[in-house]
């Protein structure tokens, strides 16, 4: 009886134990960077009606936040009441009031206008960083997963090395190697994010590689490149989209940490991370100088993460190929 029970327990494919061969390079567990939320188990269970309404509500709220931030990034002049560079020496560290909705900072600048104008730098940095890291990482992952063999091993070892160096040290090294500018920050942030995409994509591609439709395509004479382009990539597109969306959040947070350590861009139109850094000594004296940029970052990252999770729920039903 006991043996029977244990046999049952032992034979069940518990989803999170993975194939012994490649723990270091391919755990099938959800990677923390993917910000896994509830699994698709919900789809197999009658969900409380309130739950999905809540999800719909949060998804639309997230969409609204993102749209607002994008509007700020594209046309700040339409929204902001003051120019962000305008320093009013007689209006230093004023609390939020009817003249300055979000108060003023230590330079006499209107915090609200700073937040609106700062959206552009933050958003640009995050989007470009994600574009670069995503393309490079996906390319690496595709090649590694599809080719297999020595090439795969080599690339995955490189990825291991990449991941063995703490993110922030790598970013700092790059930031100090080059002149401080938006490009440098984008480069530093994107380089640290590449291995994440590479690993996930590789796992996906390896799962797909042996599928019948791929073999059929090979048999009908399609070249590797076209297979990758027309069959493999579309299959992975949802994963890529989810990862990229979540990657935007990580990029913004890494950028703010770099600002804190003194590697931010001291521009006349500072980004949110730099605003946070400039104001951090005033938290007890003038909380609005820190809180509003901080809230802006937090809300945007929450919105982006929520969007990413919603995308994942819709695009990756349980049982589909790929990682959770």
């Amino acid at each position: 009886m006991k043996e029977a029970l244990e046999q049952v327990a032992a034979s069940v494919p518990v989803a999170t134990l993975h194939a012994p061969q490649d723990e270091l390079s391919e755990p099938r567990v959800a990677r923390p960077s993917e910000r896994v939320v509830a699994p698709a188990a919900q789809s197999s269970k009658p969900m409380a009606a309130g739950g999905s309404r809540l999800q719909a509500w949060t998804a639309s709220a997230a969409g609204l936040v993102i749209a607002t931030v994008l509007l700020w990034a594209i046309a700040p002049e339409l929204i902001a009441p003051y120019a962000p560079t305008q320093m009013d020496g007689s209006a230093i560290l004023l609390a939020p009031s009817s003249r300055h909705w979000l108060g003023t900072d230590q330079f006499g600048r209107d915090v609200g206008s700073l937040v609106v104008y700062g959206a552009r730098q933050s958003v640009l940095m995050a989007i470009f960083a994600v574009l670069i890291s995503c393309s490079c990482g996906v390319a690496l992952g595709l090649v590694a997963g599809y080719t297999g063999g020595a090439c795969d091993m080599l690339l995955m070892r490189a990825v291991d090395v990449w991941m063995a160096i703490p993110n922030i040290l790598l970013a700092i090294a790059i930031c100090t190697a080059l002149d401080p500018s938006l490009h440098t920050t984008i480069l530093a942030v994107s380089v640290t994010a590449i291995p994440r995409y590479a690993r996930v994509l590789r796992a996906q591609v390896m799962a797909i590689r042996a599928r019948p439709f791929i073999l059929a395509a090979r048999a009908s004479g399609a070249s590797h490149a076209s297979i990758l382009r027309r069959h493999v990539l579309p299959h992975c597109s949802s994963t890529i989209l989810v990862l990229a969306t979540l990657g935007v959040g990580s990029a913004i947070l890494l950028g703010s940490s770099l600002s804190f350590l003194g590697l931010g861009i001291n521009d006349e139109r500072p980004d949110w991370g730099y605003l946070l850094t400039q104001g951090r000594g005033y938290l007890t004296v003038a909380w609005w100088t820190v809180t509003f940029p901080g809230l802006a970052i937090t809300l945007l990252v929450i919105a982006v993460n929520t969007l990413g999770d919603a995308l994942r729920r819709r695009l990756e039903p349980r049982g589909a190929a790929g990682t959770r």
Partner: protein
């Protein structure tokens, strides 16, 4: 199994050397002259040249790299360009602080994450679950140093419960470790929650219940154990994130540690110190991953069976 472990070990050593090489390459593209920095304010160009020769900075890159590697294998990490003291001594004095911060943060993350994950799964769909999810989402979206600053203000200044600066005691480490571990605990929480939820709908659980096993036994012996296995896997991945976060936390809480040393050394182009720091960080990373991999063989009986079959 031995073969697998040895294979892992070899791969890990390769990873460590790869990391050191990568940093060597990046830093040697850094502009800036460590010799001028050491020579200091009062030095003449001749002195600067002298120092450059003393530090062997004028030799070809390949030679420097080779000597560096040879040194590492002998345990000699060289001397700091800036302070002239042996890197190994300096880093080994600083490393325990980072290690204890990181490991205690990991422990807090594990305990907190598993607890909340279990709670979340148990109250799945109801308000505790939603509250935990929302808090998790917020914690993970807040800039880390702002979180730390708010924690300092709240727990140290206003409430007066915990000290900020290290004083050698255990209480002084609670605040920084928790700040560091909080973000990581979210990953554990989500992992455990999704894992437990998945499992509770697996046929095997129903089967076991049908066979007459008590709720508690099913939960603790089987479901939770599998969830913990999943959480342990995450440790290997999360250690990198912990080491990274330690840099900001060490700066904010004015602690000594590898992170701060590395940051300052990078800006001073103190190559031996940076390499030493990266070496230690990557060793930590691979050791933790190695331990995680090896621990599977104990935890998962199937792997044991597999290897036996393979050996025959």
């Amino acid at each position: 199994m031995m073969r697998r472990v040895l294979g892992r070990l070899a791969a890990s050593v390769g990873v460590v050397f790869g990391a050191v090489t990568l940093i060597f390459l990046i830093l040697n593209w850094l502009p800036g002259d460590p010799a001028a920095l050491i020579a200091g304010d009062a030095a003449s160009p001749e002195t600067v040249e002298q120092i450059r020769a003393q530090l062997n900075l004028d030799r070809p890159l390949w030679d420097q790299y080779r000597d560096c590697l040879i040194g590492i294998t002998r345990g000699d990490l060289g001397r700091s360009y800036v302070t002239r003291e042996p890197v190994a001594t300096r880093l080994l004095a600083q490393f325990p602080a980072t290690l204890s911060l990181t490991l205690s943060a990991g422990l807090i993350a594990l305990v907190l994450g598993v607890t909340l994950g279990v709670l979340s799964a148990r109250f799945h769909g109801r308000w505790p679950d939603q509250l935990i999810q929302l808090s998790a989402l917020s914690v993970v979206s807040v800039p880390p140093f702002w979180l730390g600053l708010l924690a300092i203000l709240c727990f140290s200044v206003y409430l007066g419960w915990l000290p900020v600066l290290g004083d050698g005691g255990f209480r002084a480490d609670i605040l920084p470790s928790t700040c560091l571990g909080l973000v990581v605990s979210v990953h554990f929480m989500r992992m455990v929650r999704s894992n437990v939820l998945d499992q509770l709908h697996e046929p095997y659980v129903t089967a076991l219940r049908a066979k007459g096993l008590g709720q508690a036994r099913v939960f603790y012996v089987h479901v939770l154990r599998n969830a913990l296995i999943a959480a342990v896997t995450l440790l290997g991945v999360v250690i990198g994130e912990l080491l990274s976060g330690a840099v900001v936390i060490e700066t904010l809480f004015a602690r000594q540690g590898l992170g701060r040393v590395a940051v300052e050394a990078i800006s001073q182009k103190d190559l031996p110190v940076v390499q030493g720091a990266i070496l230690l960080a990557s060793i930590t990373y691979v050791v933790v991953n190695l331990l995680v991999d090896v621990s599977y063989v104990w935890i998962d009986p199937r792997l044991r069976t597999d290897s036996l079959r393979g050996a025959r």
